[in-house]
Structures are given as structure tokens and as C-alpha cells.
């Protein structure tokens, strides 16, 4: 069974990847003191004796952080411990005020659970290939709660400066099993995890802002082999797509080493996103001796004394459930539902917009997902328009709820109105786009815009008959063609009527009138 690996080629190897994700929790205060859990502001402005580790201070755990960790565990299907405790993890480092980190060692809050890889969570360019591993569960080992460390800055003169504002803020560590087998799966895992964290209001989970940080363990092995290969740890991963790129590079590097007869050395490597490569930070060091022991300053915590119930009451509708409901209640396509489910504020906006007339849900979704998102991409002009709108908004539609500025700044009801004009055929699709653009630019309602732009379709039969008569009189050739049996000739006449009516004629009615007149 042990075939000499040197005979294997690159495609004979598979990657084995496990992720340790640190997530900053959205709480008002730090984990063990009442300083603001907030970034920005002058260095060392959110510190107190406790989070500076002064002599004599004591930690008191933040209830909200515990609840949010339990909630995360619930959302990910973990078992929640009925009792947990905090431990001291001892090591010296200047970014850690006490030279021990308060963490959880052998009694974490959550154990087990999994993250399911939704197809849409994969990178767009890989979704076709990813179909096979979509819905694959990535099992979790545990989730525990700990405190974050300070931020350090490095200077040219050989010194470092430390800002303790971040020190002691609540941090959740989510450890996966080594179930991930490709860079794309790692990408999907992080995207899906991020989505769930956002759903629960647990964290904004933005990797670029450091709200979600990820350490990667990666090894390769010949397909079919059970034992793990020697792993390397990757650091400095600052975006989900960066993780994918780094893994792609690192897998290729490791395969290259092995297929050219070398051996993987246990290393910590740093990803350089600009250069697109990983470089050696350090080789295997002697194992850390963290000397964990229960923190005698903190009582063990019982989750069954109210904390679990509080977490339960915060349980949101999860992405999978939301998708099903959007399809069922609003007649959306699976794709539309999935895209909306990936953006909770947009989905909430959608629901407000579509609720008054759910049968038009698909049309409302189209305006939001195609027209609005496309417009957003066409950025600067739109951003300017939006800025202008903000003022209009406060007077005309102050009740509009804007969770984040990434939403249309108009009353969601306008979307229903617009969809209604469009699906009923009162305006055509080209006109609808125009109304849409104006609606966002001016904040005026579709009804008002249709009127102002003179787009109200003319359905008055008398008026339309006059236009039709005019067209018939002016185009004897088309009339003759029609009478000779060329049904299509009616379209030319229809076009004429539309022109005469400046596009306001109801095309369906015009067709009917023309055929009636020509057949007479």
C-alpha cells in the first residue's frame, strides 16, 4: 500500500486544510472590563486598569459575549456546554498585558457542529466546478471565547509601539476539523461562516478590518492515504479571496517540493498578497508550554441558568430557511432567493418592498438585484446622486429604514409601485428602467415620475383609434401586405402608432385595434 510517492504526479495529491478563525464579537464593552469595544480613536484611549493588566485588577466576564458565543454555537449546530470555565494561557508577549491570555482550554462553550458549503458561497468563477462539493459539511471541533490582544506598530528605529485599545475585546475562536480539501472550499467555508455570523448579529466578520482573522493549517497527501502529511501554517491572510490565493500557491509549492523528491518541513509561512507567494517566517520551534490552568479570578459559568434561553431568543432565521421562504412566499427563483439571502439588509429591504403585493416579488427582486446592484457598480455618479438624495430623503421619506448605505435610499414601497406599473404593462421595460433611474436620483415616487415623464400608457380607445387611423392612412403598403396574408405587417403599423403616441400607447390595445380595423 505504501507506493513510493516519487512516482506520483501533481494530480495524485490532495490538500488537507483546517482553519482556525478568530472572530471579534459585536458587544458594547470588552470581554472582562467595561471599556468600549470600539476601534479607531487615539491610541490607548479605550483602556482601564483591568485591560492594561495593572497590579490588583480582576476580570469580570461580559454576559453578552457569552450569549453571542452560545448563539453562534446554536446557529452552527454545536453542542452547548451546560458549564464552562475560563483558563489562563501563559506566554510572554508585549501585546498581552498580563502575559497570560484568558481563554478556554478543556471546557469550551461549544463543541461539534458544522458549516455547510452553499454553492453560492464558492467563488463565482468556481461555482460550476464546485457543484460536487456544494452542501458538504465542514465539521467544527469547538468554539471558545477568549480575549483579544493589543495592536502593535513597528518603527524604523528598531522599536515597536503598543496600543491596548483592542486588548481584552471579546474574541471567539472557531476551530474546524481538517475537512477542507481545496482553496475553493476554504473560500466557501469562510463565506458561509461569515454569512451566518452576520445573520446572528454576532460580528460584522470583515476580514479586511480584522474582525475575522484566519490561521490556516495545510498539508498534502497522496489521494487515498489516511495519514496526514507534515503541515504548514499560513499567516497574514487579510481577505477571503486572499486565503484562496494563498492556499492555491501553497498547495502548488508543497506538491512541487514532494514531486521533486523533497520533504515538507513543518513551517509557519507568511502570505504576501502583492507578490502572490508565501515566504518562510519560522521553522518548527519547540512546542509551546502554555501552562493552562483554570483562572482562579473567574467563577465557572452555567449556561443553563438563563444564558442559553437568552441566546435562543436571539436565534435568527438562518440562510437556508430564508431562501426557502423567499421562494415560497414571493415566487422568487432559487437564484434570486440565494442572492438576497446572502445580503441580509438587502433581503430585509426586499421584504418590505415586496410585501404589499407578493405576486410581484420576482419583478421587485429583479429591480433590486439587476438594476440597483448594476447601478451601484457604476459607482461615482451613483454615489453622488445618493448623496444628494440623502437630503431629499429626510424630508420626503424619513420613515425609510436604511440599515446600511448600501441600500436604495427610497421608500421600499416605491419598488412595489414600479413593479406594478411594469407587470401590468402600463409602462414598458425600457420606460421602467428610466423611471427606476429617476426614482433613485430624485427620490420621487414612480407614480409621480410616470406622470411627469408622460409615460402613462394611453389606453383610451378613442385616442388610440385616432392614432391607428392615422397610421393606416399613411402606410398603404403595409395595409396591402396584411391583407395579402402577411400577419407580420401589423407590426410595422404598430410601430408607427407608438411613434405617433410618443411611446405612450398601450401596445397590446393598439395591436387589437389595428387587427380589428384591418380585418373589417
Amino acid at each position: 500500500m505504501n507506493s513510493p510517492t516519487t512516482h506520483l504526479t501533481a494530480t495524485d495529491y490532495e490538500a488537507v486544510i483546517g482553519l482556525e478563525v478568530h472572530v471579534q464579537l459585536k458587544t458594547k464593552t470588552k470581554m472582562f472590563c467595561a471599556c468600549k469595544n470600539e476601534f479607531g480613536g487615539p491610541a490607548n484611549s479605550h483602556v482601564c486598569p483591568v485591560c492594561l493588566g495593572l497590579p490588583g485588577v480582576l476580570p469580570v466576564p461580559n454576559e453578552e459575549a457569552i450569549i453571542k458565543t452560545i448563539l453562534t454555537g446554536e446557529m452552527l449546530g454545536c453542542q452547548i456546554a451546560t458549564r464552562c470555565k475560563f483558563d489562563r494561557k501563559n506566554y510572554f508577549y508585549p501585546d498581552m498585558p498580563k502575559n497570560y491570555q484568558i481563554s478556554q482550554y478543556d471546557e469550551p462553550l461549544c463543541q461539534g457542529g458544522a458549516v455547510r458549503l452553499d454553492l453560492l458561497a464558492f467563488p463565482k468563477d468556481a461555482q460550476k466546478d464546485a457543484a460536487a462539493s456544494a452542501d458538504k459539511p465542514i465539521r467544527l471541533v469547538r468554539i471558545h471565547l477568549e480575549e483579544d490582544v493589543a495592536k502593535s506598530f513597528h518603527f524604523e528605529d528598531g522599536t515597536s509601539g503598543i496600543d491596548f485599545n483592542r486588548a481584552g475585546t471579546p474574541l471567539m475562536e472557531i476551530v474546524s476539523e481538517a475537512d477542507i480539501s481545496s482553496p475553493e472550499e476554504a473560500f466557501a467555508y469562510l463565506s458561509a461562516l461569515k454569512q451566518i455570523l452576520i445573520y446572528g448579529g454576532v460580528s460584522d466578520a470583515d476580514m479586511e478590518k480584522g474582525q475575522m482573522r484566519c490561521d490556516v493549517n495545510i498539508s498534502i497527501r497522496p489521494r487515498g492515504q489516511k495519514e496526514f502529511g507534515t503541515k504548514c501554517e499560513l499567516k497574514n491572510l487579510n481577505s477571503i479571496s486572499g486565503v484562496r490565493r494563498a492556499l492555491k500557491y501553497e498547495i502548488a509549492r508543497q506538491i512541487d517540493v514532494v514531486t521533486s523528491g523533497g520533504q515538507i518541513e513543518q513551517q509557519t509561512r507568511r502570505w504576501d498578497d502583492d507578490k502572490g507567494e508565501t515566504t518562510l517566517m519560522r521553522t518548527k520551534e519547540k512546542a509551546h508550554d502554555y501552562r493552562y490552568f483554570p483562572d482562579p479570578d473567574i467563577q465557572p459559568v452555567r449556561t443553563d441558568h438563563g444564558l442559553y434561553e437568552k441566546a435562543q431568543s436571539l436565534m435568527p432565521e438562518l440562510p437556508a430557511a430564508k431562501k426557502l421562504r423567499l421562494v415560497r412566499d414571493f415566487g422568487l427563483s432559487a437564484y434570486q432567493a440565494a442572492v438576497l439571502a446572502s445580503d441580509v439588509p438587502l433581503a430585509n429591504y426586499f421584504e418590505k418592498a415586496a410585501k404589499p403585493k407578493p405576486v410581484n416579488g420576482a419583478a421587485v427582486a429583479n429591480f433590486l438585484l439587476n438594476d440597483f446592484l448594476a447601478m451601484k457598480l457604476a459607482a461615482p455618479a451613483f454615489a453622488a446622486a445618493e448623496a444628494v438624495l440623502k437630503k431629499v430623503d429626510s424630508q420626503t421619506a424619513s420613515h425609510v429604514q436604511n440599515e446600511i448605505p448600501n441600500l436604495p435610499s427610497v421608500d421600499p414601497i416605491f419598488f412595489t409601485e414600479l413593479a406594478e406599473f411594469s407587470t401590468s404593462g402600463k409602462i414598458n421595460s425600457r420606460q421602467a428602467k428610466e423611471v427606476f433611474a429617476q426614482m433613485l436620483a430624485t427620490g420621487k415616487s414612480p407614480a409621480q415620475l410616470v406622470k411627469e415623464l408622460g409615460l402613462e400608457q394611453v389606453s383610451d380607445v378613442g385616442q388610440l383609434e385616432a392614432f391607428c387611423d392615422q397610421a393606416i392612412a399613411a402606410n398603404p403598403k403595409s395595409v396591402a401586405d396584411f391583407k395579402a396574408g402577411k400577419q407580420n405587417a401589423v407590426n410595422a403599423l404598430k410601430g408607427q402608432v407608438m411613434k405617433l403616441s410618443k411611446g405612450t400607447a398601450n401596445p397590446q390595445l393598439v395591436g387589437e385595434i389595428l387587427i380589428r380595423k384591418l380585418s373589417a
Partner: protein, 479 residues
């Protein structure tokens, strides 16, 4: 009028009647210190000017209005140094008040002077202070006990009325016994530890030194109580401890643990303590023999748990954010290693190394985990014993004060000085040491009274009954 020998109630009476002004009290105390402290060396720093200013604005109507209180140099007082008798905290000025300090301020007390101690409270003789030892006021060639030797000596030598101290393994009771004063260690969780520089978090507790039991009761009423800043402080109402003093011991059952009268105990100490037990019987208490079979393991358990916790608690003294920093460090590792090597004394280093070792990979189960389990058994011994009695009577220290330098080269011998006090900390219960006579060489002997969790009321009542029936607390050292 001479005030330094007064008790707190006596002093309060003179202050509130206007017979004496707070400033005069401070002046007299400062004069007494100037006269005797060069011999005793009880104080690390005294800021008499600051105390005078506080005295001038003192409100005698408050429970401790105008009463000067000495504080162990391990409790943080905003704007004051807090060195823990260690060079590593040289230059550190506390930017906040410990909870007990806030409570004392609220009660009108004048914070007066910082007393000497073993560095970071690690010691049984106050010889481990970076600023030299304190001397026993009863015999200047002898140690005052430790780690709170400075406070005990100050109260015994009438250089302080009362003092606030901490007890991790006997640091209040043992020096109180060796200096003939009252040393109270409350139940773990009774008094907030917030602002007390930690030695061993699961054992440390703030308590009091005083000349009388009544003063201890009055002070405890003020400093006790739940604190939301201390997760280990317990939310229970605080009894009026002083109110139940004077009720006597008739009808109480007092236990005598047989394991506390063993080989190695000084015969004069044993004789004095046995006489005290007889005195209680004479006052109508029922004396019962009890057994605390795991007593013999207490010192071993203590030196594992206390050093383990200390190794982590003292990691923060690293020269990065406050205190001493080694000169011209070549890198961060060098900064840590030299700062800590230069800043800590030998006993602190010894304990950090021991504590680091018992937690290190491969040894945790054999030492730390096992010690925690034996600690459980020790606590259980007490629970069983308190089913048979209301309080326990034991010697506080197996010997009277030993000579300075006698045990400094033999840490293990030194550790055994706390053999009768340590189990109380391990079990988280309360204990008080009161004067119980003198040896033929006029060295003080202490009687320890141990109460169950939250049993301070009865324990103090028992202590008071003996104190009032004996003359010991009225004797003054020949300074």
C-alpha cells in the same frame, strides 16, 4: 492627651466630642513613628503632610471620620505608590483605588502610611522585603512574622491604630500572634479583592490588624460586601459584627482538632493554648475533640497552588507598561529576563520557578491537579468538623517569633511556620488570631479561632469572650 494607645471606639469618642482634632491624632502618630520606627522599621513610606491635609477635611460624624489607618503596600490607593516591597514596582503610582480603599474613604478614614512586608507577600518573617526586615517590637532581634510583619509591628508598637492587610496562608494571623495583636482573615469572597495586588488569587483575602476584637468587627463591617468588580466576591448581606460581641460562649461548642497539637509545637505555646481552652470551658463552652485528618498535607498543597497562581499573577511585571525596566535591553526577551531578574528578590524568583514548574507540560496532573483534589479533602475535613462544633480553637503558630536570619537559608523550614494557618485559606473559611499570653522570655503567643464559611459573627464573639477575660491585649511592648 496621648492618643496612640487608644482603641478605635475610644478614639472615635474623643474625635466626635471634639476633645481632640484629627490633625493632632496624625501629629501624635507621626511623632510616635519618628521615635520608634528607626528600631522597628514597620513602615515603607509615610506621607504625614498628605495625612494632615486629609485630617483637616475629615468629617468626625462618619463611622471612621478622622481615624488614621495603615495600609499594606500591596493595596492600590489612587495617586500613591504601591510597591509590594518589590523593586520591580519602583516608581509605579496607582491610577485607581482598590474597592476597600474606596470604602474606607467613604467611611471618613485617613489613609496613613504603607507598612513593610515580604516582597509580594511571599514570606513568613518580613525578611523578604526589598527594603530590609521589620523587627518584632517585643524583641528587636526577632522577626515580627510575615508576610504582614510591618502592620503587626506597627499596631503592636502603637505606630498605627489599625491596619488593612492581606492573608494568603496566614500572613495576618501568624504575625498577629507573634506581635500580640488581633489579626482577622475573613471568609474568601467576604471582602473584595479588587485593587489588591494578587499573590495567589484563590487564597488571598483582605483582613485587619487591630489591638482588640471589637475594632476588627467594626472594620470588617465597613470593608466587607459584594463588589461587582470581583467575580469571586459573594453577594450576601453584611451582619453587624460588633453587635453580637459580648454574648459570651455559654452553650457554644468549641472544637479542638487533635492534629494541631503535634510534635514540633513549642511546649510553652501548647501550654498557653491549652489554658485558653480551659478558660473557655470555664466560661460555659462545651469543648469537643474533632479531627482534621488532611491537615498534614496543607503546607504541601499550599506551596503548589499558591506558587502556580503566583507564577501567572506575577507575569505582568515585565517592564513594558509600568514599574522598573532593565537598562538598554537588546531585544524584548532580554528586556523581560533582565527586568525580572533585577526586580524580583530571591524568594519571589524561587516561588515563580516552583509555580511555573508545577504547571508545566507533563507535571500539571501530578502536582497542580492533585493538589487541588487534596485541597478539596482539606475543605471537606472542616465541613465535617463544623457539623460538631461552632468554631475551632488552635495555636496560630507552632513557635513564638524566631530570630532574624534563623531560617532564611532554609525555605522549607520557613514554609512550615504557616502550618496551622494555611488550611484555613485552602478551605476558604475564616480565622482570627488573638493574644493568648507570653513565653517565659516575654514573646507573644497567639490563639487561633477558626469559623466556618460566613461564620465571622460567632467566631468574633468567641474571640471577644476570651479577650475580655484576659489581660494580654492590654500589654505594651518595651520600646
Amino acid at each position: 492627651m496621648e492618643t496612640t494607645s487608644l482603641t478605635i471606639p475610644e478614639l472615635r469618642q474623643k474625635l466626635s466630642s471634639g476633645a481632640i482634632r484629627p490633625r493632632e491624632v496624625v501629629d501624635q502618630l507621626a511623632a510616635r513613628i519618628a521615635a520608634v520606627d528607626p528600631k522597628v522599621k514597620a513602615y515603607l513610606h509615610v506621607d504625614a503632610e498628605k495625612a494632615r491635609a486629609a485630617a483637616d477635611s475629615a468629617n468626625p460624624a462618619l463611622p471612621l471620620g478622622g481615624v488614621p489607618i495603615a495600609v499594606k503596600d500591596v493595596i492600590n490607593v489612587k495617586g500613591d505608590p504601591c510597591t509590594c516591597a518589590s523593586k520591580i514596582l519602583e516608581g509605579y503610582v496607582a491610577p485607581y483605588d482598590a474597592t476597600v480603599i474606596a470604602k474606607l474613604r467613604e467611611a471618613g478614614a485617613i489613609l496613613f502610611g504603607r507598612t513593610n512586608m515580604d516582597e509580594f507577600a511571599m514570606g513568613s518573617s518580613t525578611e523578604n522585603s526589598s527594603w530590609g526586615p521589620t523587627h518584632n517590637p517585643w524583641d528587636l532581634d526577632r522577626i515580627p512574622g510575615g508576610s504582614s510583619g510591618g502592620s503587626a509591628a506597627a499596631v503592636a508598637g502603637h505606630e498605627a491604630f489599625v491596619a488593612l492587610w492581606t492573608d494568603t496562608g496566614g500572613s495576618i494571623r501568624q504575625p498577629a500572634a507573634l506581635c500580640s495583636c488581633v489579626g482577622l482573615k475573613p471568609t474568601y469572597g467576604r471582602v473584595s479583592r479588587y485593587g489588591l495586588t494578587a499573590f495567589a488569587s484563590s487564597l488571598d483575602q483582605i483582613g485587619t490588624f487591630s489591638k482588640t476584637v471589637e475594632e476588627a468587627a467594626l472594620l470588617l463591617e465597613i470593608i466587607a460586601g459584594h463588589d461587582t468588580r470581583d467575580n469571586t466576591s459573594v453577594n450576601r448581606s453584611v451582619p453587624k459584627y460588633a453587635a453580637s460581641l459580648g454574648m459570651g460562649v455559654k452553650g457554644l461548642r468549641l472544637g479542638v482538632p487533635k492534629e494541631y497539637f503535634i510534635a514540633g509545637i513549642d511546649p510553652e505555646v501548647e501550654k498557653a493554648v491549652r489554658a485558653a481552652i480551659d478558660a473557655y470551658r470555664g466560661q460555659g463552652a462545651e469543648i469537643v475533640e474533632v479531627s482534621l485528618p488532611h491537615t498534614q498535607y496543607a503546607v504541601a498543597v499550599y506551596y503548589i497552588i499558591a506558587t502556580a497562581e503566583a507564577s501567572a499573577n506575577l507575569a505582568r511585571f515585565d517592564g513594558v507598561r509600568y514599574g522598573r525596566r532593565a537598562k538598554n535591553p537588546k531585544d524584548i526577551l532580554d528586556l523581560y529576563r533582565r527586568t525580572r531578574a533585577e526586580g524580583f528578590g530571591a524568594e519571589v524568583k524561587r516561588r515563580i520557578i516552583l509555580g511555573t514548574y508545577v504547571l508545566s507540560s507533563g507535571y500539571y496532573d501530578a502536582y497542580y491537579n492533585r493538589a487541588q483534589k487534596v485541597r478539596h479533602l482539606i475543605a471537606d475535613d472542616f465541613r465535617q468538623a463544623f457539623k460538631k462544633c461552632d468554631a475551632l480553637l488552635t495555636p496560630t503558630s507552632p513557635t513564638p517569633a524566631f530570630k532574624l536570619g534563623e531560617r532564611t537559608q532554609d525555605p522549607l523550614q520557613m514554609y512550615l511556620a504557616d502550618i496551622f494557618t494555611i488550611a484555613v485559606n485552602l478551605a476558604g473559611i475564616c480565622g482570627v488570631s488573638i493574644p493568648c499570653g507570653f513565653t517565659s522570655g516575654k514573646l507573644p503567643i497567639g490563639l487561633q479561632i477558626i469559623g466556618p464559611k460566613w461564620g465571622e459573627e460567632t467566631m468574633l464573639r468567641v474571640a471577644h469572650a476570651y479577650e475580655q477575660a484576659t489581660p494580654w491585649h492590654k500589654e505594651k511592648p518595651p520600646l
